[in-house]
Symmetry: C2
Subunit: 240 residues, 2 copies
Amino acid sequence: MLETLSKNKIKWIKSLRLKKNRNASDVFVVEGQKMVEELIRFYPEYIEFICTSGAVPKFNGLIYLTDEKTIKECTSLSTPSHHIAIVKKPTFKPNAAKFVLALDEIQDPGNLGTIIRTADWFGVDQIVCSKGTVDLYNPKVVQSTMGSMFRIPILYVDLVNYLKQTDLNIYGAMLEGENIYDLNLKKEAVIVIGNEGNGISKEVQAVVQESVHIPNFGKAESLNASVASAILLSEFRRRS
Amino acid sequence: MLETLSKNKIKWIKSLRLKKNRNASDVFVVEGQKMVEELIRFYPEYIEFICTSGAVPKFNGLIYLTDEKTIKECTSLSTPSHHIAIVKKPTFKPNAAKFVLALDEIQDPGNLGTIIRTADWFGVDQIVCSKGTVDLYNPKVVQSTMGSMFRIPILYVDLVNYLKQTDLNIYGAMLEGENIYDLNLKKEAVIVIGNEGNGISKEVQAVVQESVHIPNFGKAESLNASVASAILLSEFRRRS
């Protein structure tokens, strides 16, 4: 079904840059040919409609033909592509997860997206984010997850309460923790990663059972949060 | 020394967003209070001058007092800070490095910056980049290195020639490589990381001696280049 985009629709798409508008409509924006093609292939049921100023994708739903000027109005990327999809938010239910990543106030959208993609690589069952973590549907998060956001349940929770109630072993990444290379790590685990500047908050630290640390062989003061997450996930998986 | 910034100087700072202008002047731009303070503390000899629209930093050299409007004109950040430093490019000499990271056409500035920071954490002696790798002095690279760019020699080379001449063991990250967790890794090594979309180029693959791979436990198709670099560096270091 090919249609032309109305001014109101364009305005509405632009409004989705803000979290409150995404929340009100329960949709978000996916951009780029590769990402949109992956959506059509694997998750067509989530697509509300697609806008294209380029080749018309093979999609059995609503497609709006637009021009580059309109795409430029709608995009939140600095180099806009020809394809934009408006997508329903997946509904995630808490599951009986055994291998969980917990994020305490991650602020950088690129970090959150990369962490989700890495968690998908290492077979994380569920991601829980503190309420103050950057919004999953922020355009920069969406772009850097590379589709992984549809494959892992991602929940925003009261993190202290969640950790108090879980039966899993709770590990936290902290500078003063034990050397991760030397530890016996339990398979059924929650790994807590803290904020980029401040690390894990005091309230969350109080419920962490074992603090772990990636040894420093050089002079950098810290590791990027997505890099630290990746190394910890790799350490847990190589022993399992 | 406190002075006021001339229109010509503002124009020149703005021009440094382009690689050719940075090359012509042999300087680059560092932004943000934390980064500028680190420069003053550890690498004052590299600073040409500092512009500030906020608190005047303790620096024994040339400082221009500006206003927010001027900083906004000069910045390449979406959220400008009050501090901009114009900095001489460090001159790196090839050293007798034993633990080297080689980057084959990394394109994303954030990835390059994060890789440099991670390499500094894991005590990499030297980074060699193919000529087509994104410029080290790109503002986004500079911001994400967090100061590590001054601590590791980073050279742009003909990567195939470099690898042909080195005595170190050459490992390459490839999807069809051996499981990194099970391998005996030699300490004196070059680890080659490929381009975000295409991996290691054919010409470079031809001189890689051992291809290695991070096992996939989930459904993501690939790992971010900075994440893959981090896990490989961690794997080499935990055995040394």
